[in-house]
Symmetry: C2
Subunit: 340 residues, 2 copies
């Protein structure tokens, strides 16, 4: 690897993803390993450092099949030692980017006021910045957008929960307590379904990939018929991708469950419009793999439900970077930190 | 009047309020007249200009009783001609502050793309700025606050509807389409009560002074007992102030209706916390006259309902300027416009 790069980390509940990223946002190499969140913060920090060391030394990616270096897209050169200038970490919140502390994370057991940024920096001897994972992903999407007039956007990452990041005037919007843009925990049904965060009726209980899967499993277990009933009875995991596929194949229960999630996403889009009035709302995360089958009903419901007092509305669109948004955004924030 | 001042206008559905305001935000003189919104925009603009002319010429306020000048607070000197340097207008939205156009206003019939700012400026020959009425009020509260570290706040004005203004970093936050912070039209009950804006389930249908009055009247008409039943049967108007008084006197129905509104305000506070994460959320408008009888249950419900992942929360407090917030804020924005 003959040019310098930043290393972006995306710390998820299941996997730690990493990428070496050049100054333009192009990925030079990817790697990942399981988070093993159940082992607690010390073990997870060890695993993050291991992953960083593997990328620093140019060791073969553990993602590669058959033990050989992964060269699938022609941009991976694992046998060269890269020149890593800084590291960016996207982590689940609530957290403080300015202090580098993860206060608590719904999906990472035993994390409580963990000084993640400084603990990593001490171990690796490189400058480290830390950001909310969805904020980092939103920044990645913002920097990637072809439309350079796009300066105000909200990204919703529809995964096991719903993460969200807001870019205003080309910068991540943090809010006074650095925990703005937690749209997944907007209450959309007062006294509604209990959320892991302690509230009732949060958006992510109705409109995330996780919620869709849980809802259809519960309905099937209550005796509703569906083409997915066999999987459920066999104890196989059902994902939002399965539900989308079943709905597209004509499964009535899957269609109802998918459409209900899209209606709640439309409520979210309307509330985001009224709250921060962005130019664009991007739908990302696992559910967005459904493409137009997600986008079109969300747009249709939003149009049908929103106010008629004014015609200038945020555009609703699909995010572009898929699973790379978080690592690219974190790496670009690391690059930015060197410029200031 | 021996010093220069800006003139602040607060254009409401019922009254046009005006005030002469010095550079520090102190009111030197007030005046007002009925809006007569039913006559349409041309007539309303005439009435705004009349009000401005009355204040410019030092004519006696029409608000004064017995024909004499009003000197109640010792700060009104109507016989001197004031030196007005600029005019600020707070108007109901959606509107464009930068272009000075009111697109449409739910409570002002026949308003459609009215170039309010320039039409007033042409008539009076003074610099005019225009702002969303609740944004102007929020700016007034921001400038009035004793705590100079308070730079990020949201004001909710609880009146016939719910207006809202957001201050971020000491500046009004407008959003890309200049219609951010319409918290009154956040959907809090999908498929809920119809709103004049065209949506279903908007916050202002559940938690405004108007909603409280309509709700208790409807319950009484359905046969529920209340100390306010006599008024309702006599066809007298019931206000949120009456409901608060009845609730404080032990009326069970009034207590239920008031508490329901406070619970929806708590949902709003939680969603505002997660969206823009301000330092403070201020409750203003007619309902805030109830003081702690409003503030305490909103705080209690918010505390009970919000997430437990993080302890740094916006403070919830009562707004301080009452009915003067809009005129003071508009006048201070007029002052600011001279400095740029």
């Amino acid at each position: 690897m003959d040019k310098s790069c930043a290393l972006g980390i995306d710390l998820g509940a299941t996997d730690i993803k990493a990428a070496l990223v050049d100054r333009t946002g192009k990925i030079l190499r990817r790697d990942a390993q399981p988070t093993r969140a159940e082992l607690g913060p010390d073990a997870v920090i060890d695993r993050i450092v291991e992953l960083i060391d593997r990328l620093r030394t140019g060791a073969p990616s553990l993602q590669s099949k058959g033990g050989g270096p992964k060269r699938a897209n022609g941009s991976e050169h694992p046998t060269h030692k890269p020149d890593i200038v800084a590291v960016g970490i996207g982590a689940p919140g609530p957290l403080s980017p300015s202090r580098g502390i993860v206060f608590k994370a719904a999906n990472l057991p035993k994390w409580r006021n963990v000084a993640l940024r400084d603990r990593i920096a001490e171990r690796i001897g490189l400058p480290v910045v830390m950001e909310n994972d969805a904020n980092a992903a939103a920044y990645g999407e913002y920097r990637h957008a072809n439309d350079k007039s796009l300066q105000d956007l909200v990204l919703l990452t529809l995964g096991s929960g719903i993460g969200a990041g807001t870019i205003l005037g080309g910068r991540i919007f943090h809010g006074h307590f650095e925990n703005a843009s937690e749209w997944g925990h907007m209450i959309v049904e007062p006294n509604g379904r209990p959320c892991t965060c302690g509230q009732l009726g949060c958006l992510e209980r109705y409109a995330s990939a996780g919620a869709i899967a849980r809802t259809i499993v519960a309905q099937i277990e209550r005796g509703q018929s569906s083409s997915l009933a066999g999987c459920v009875r066999a104890g196989e995991a059902v994902t939002s991708v399965d539900v989308a596929a079943a709905a597209q194949a004509g499964d009535a229960l899957a269609q109802t469950v998918w459409d209900e999630a899209c209606r709640y996403l439309a409520v979210a889009c309307i509330n985001i419009q009224h709250a921060v009035n962005p130019q664009s709302i991007l739908l990302g995360g696992g559910m967005s793999a459904a493409g137009d089958f997600l986008l079109n009903p969300v747009r249709r419901h939003t149009e049908a439900m929103r106010w008629k007092l004014h015609d200038d509305h945020p555009d609703i669109a699909l995010a572009q970077l898929g699973n790379d948004a978080g690592t690219i955004g974190a790496a670009l924030l690391a690059w930015d930190s060197l410029d200031t």
